[in-house]
């Protein structure tokens, strides 16, 4: 994103911000979808993030740091969306979007991974997405999430452990299932 456009948008230039938003929108939506695993919620989170970025842009000190700053707003919007989804559905966030597995058929690694991922709390998902999809290093992730690097490490570790455990748990019934 062009830092000059960001600087103009900071001064209230809506046209410049529209250019910035269109340039960023695909990235924002892609990240939101990968954290939330739901198109509607990702759409809501990305829209909310765009509006929040505009509203709070004057508080950004260095336009060169815009991208990380915007990611942080997006991740907060994703947390809010996950929480809203949990409240609306009355189910815990780790089960949000969980598809009831059909244990009678074999499932691929991809399906196992998807189900395991959906069981992770949003803040652990965010670490995985920022690390593996956005390809940020740990200090960058820590700054975006507003937590110490150690916390990022522990969340990433916990996520991978939980993912592995979930994969094993998913696999167990399949191992014991009788062939059709």
């Amino acid at each position: 994103v062009d830092a000059r456009l960001v600087a103009l948008a900071q001064q209230g230039d809506e046209g410049a911000f529209a250019d910035v938003a269109r340039a960023m929108s695909g990235r924002l939506y892609a990240i939101a979808y990968r954290i939330l695993r739901d198109h509607d919620h990702a759409d809501d989170a990305a829209q909310q993030a765009i509006v929040s970025i505009w509203r709070d842009l004057p508080s950004l000190r260095d336009p060169e740091r815009f991208e990380g700053w915007a990611y942080r707003i997006l991740v907060n919007a994703c947390y809010a969306e996950a929480r809203k989804a949990r409240k609306d559905r009355g189910i815990p966030p780790e089960e949000m979007g969980l598809v009831t597995p059909d244990e009678s058929i074999a499932v691929s690694d991809r399906d196992q991974l998807a189900r395991g991922f959906r069981r992770l709390p949003p803040e652990q998902r965010a670490v995985l997405v920022l690390q593996h999809y956005v390809e940020l290093d740990l200090p960058e992730i820590a700054e975006i999430l507003g937590v110490p690097v150690g916390t990022v490490k522990s969340r990433g570790h916990a996520a991978r452990q939980a993912l592995r455990a979930a994969l094993e748990a998913d696999a167990r019934p399949a191992e014991g299932a009788q062939p059709a």
Partner: protein
């Protein structure tokens, strides 16, 4: 054959995650981008309106005066923050084990404190001198983080101390220990429970919690201390929260002692109490209004007219409930959700009308999603006006019965008395407890009138937002034209 086995190595899991996350949408729907930009077009930017008043720079033009002022400031701060004065009676001593946290120190650089004033959110607090607001990364509306600078990029991105002032609809951002998340609460218990719930899910550790009732600038509040057990940090109280409501808005103060340590400043639990002690709510922009100087308003379609405090406006007629006179923010809420009326967040006069006729009627017991239902949310909005029971109203007792059905959630500890309004009989019903205590709306008054048609008129206001007796002034102003 299952290929599950290769997931059990770190490298294989990493490769699978990389490939799996790479797959998926990469473009935001154009219509969604357009919708967001339309919202941007009607959304103002949030400009920095907070200000810092540093004691030591109060008189930079007068060196001698500056020195004297600095000495005076040290004395003042020594009195304010030192061990000369005990904590105020309203603030209990820490309920935590002070030995498990770093040694109390008023300020590690000796330059005293800094008064931070946030006019936008309406509060003032004295910070350790080395702390600044963490403004370079955005926080949600109403939330401001404070911490010590420890590199060129400014304050710590995670706040040692966060003040979060919510909106009248009960939404407030919880900003510790990790990211800010919105919660919606109408009572202190609700705030406490939701913050605890979120923190449990965010920290992946057991939490040891202790609660104690305190006051925050004279307002009843709750201080919670939280210690992590089994997490990365296992060293006594880690987080402190203060929960309260001020003028109907939820307020959370969050303290993270781990961030204190990283920030090199004020690394003591004593500062938690000093920050609480120094916290002040600023007077609101909307001063209490004198009903005697209000505006005469005819109630549309009826013989009734009343005098409302100045500055009030009529909300759009409610589709099934009646007519509301409220402050503007509430009217906006009503306009947004015609069949879902959120609890009044400010002073309000709501008039429910019956139908004239022989006998007149009143539709009682609307059981849809309205503000008497605690579990309503925008996603459960009814699409049509909820059904009700059409009742013939022949007396004030019959109208009371209809009110009992309609407002059963609110009618706690009621008292009734018959009065005269503009030469006719009326009945006043007062409730000394309210479902909306979290919004500090404790007392509610209903006026039951049977004239040209049945009227049920509800008056309420959060504590401290209206002068005493405002309800009487509005009731006494009621006038009927025959």
């Amino acid at each position: 054959m299952s290929s599950r086995g290769r997931l059990f190595t770190d490298d294989a899991l990493t490769r699978t995650l990389d490939h799996w996350l790479a797959d998926g949408p990469k473009e935001m729907p154009e219509v969604s981008v357009d919708a967001a930009l339309r919202t941007v077009a009607i959304t103002g930017q949030r400009r920095w309106r907070g200000r810092l008043l540093r004691f030591a720079s109060a008189s930079p033009m007068v060196p001698v005066g500056l020195t004297a002022a600095t000495v005076a400031v040290f004395v003042t701060l020594a009195v304010a923050f030192g061990q000369i004065l005990p904590p105020p009676a309203t603030l209990p001593s820490p309920t935590v084990d002070s030995s498990s946290v770093p040694t109390p120190a008023p300020s590690d650089d000796g330059s005293g404190g800094v008064i931070y004033t946030n006019e936008e959110d309406g509060y003032e607090v004295t910070l350790p001198a080395s702390w600044t607001p963490a403004a370079f990364l955005s926080d949600p509306p109403g939330a401001m983080r404070f911490g010590a600078s420890h590199n060129d990029s400014g304050p710590s991105p995670f706040g040692a101390f966060t003040v979060s002032v919510g909106s009248p609809d009960g939404t407030v951002y919880d900003c510790a220990p990790a990211a800010c998340v919105p919660i919606v609460a109408t009572t202190i218990d609700d705030l406490d429970a939701q913050v605890d719930s979120w923190n449990r899910s965010a920290t992946a550790a057991d939490l040891g919690e202790q609660d104690v009732d305190i006051t925050l600038d004279g307002v009843p509040a709750r201080l919670e201390t939280v210690a992590l057990r089994g997490g990365l940090i296992e060293a006594g109280p880690q987080f402190h929260h203060v929960f309260t409501f001020h003028e109907g808005r939820p307020v959370i103060l969050s303290f993270d002692l781990y961030a204190y340590n990283l920030g090199r400043a004020a690394n003591s639990v004593a500062w938690v109490h000093r920050l609480i002690e120094s916290f002040r709510f600023l007077d609101g922009d909307t001063a209490p209004t004198d009903p005697a100087e209000g505006e005469r308003v005819p109630v549309q379609g009826t013989a009734l007219s009343i005098t409302l405090p100045t500055g009030w406006e009529i909300c759009r007629p409610l589709n099934w409930e009646g007519i509301a006179y409220r402050l503007q923010s509430d009217c906006e809420q009503i306009a947004a959700s015609p069949y879902w009326v959120s609890p009044p967040s400010g002073p309000s006069v709501i008039i429910q009308l019956g139908e004239d006729g022989d006998p007149p009627t009143f539709c009682a017991g609307r059981s849809g999603c309205n503000y008497t239902s605690p579990s309503c949310s925008p996603r459960t909005l009814p699409r049509r006006a909820p059904a009700c029971e059409e009742r013939e109203i022949r007396s004030l007792s019959g109208l009371w019965s209809a009110l009992s059905v309609s407002d059963v959630f609110q009618l706690a500890d009621t008292q009734q008395r018959d009065v005269q309004i503009d030469g006719g009989e009326a009945r006043l019903v007062t409730a000394s407890r309210s479902y909306f205590e979290g919004r500090r709306i404790v007392d509610r008054t209903w006026v039951l009138i049977l004239r040209d048609r049945p009227y049920i008129i509800s008056l309420s206001a959060p504590q401290g937002t209206m002068p005493a007796g405002w309800e009487d002034a509005v009731i006494n102003s009621m006038d009927f034209t025959d």
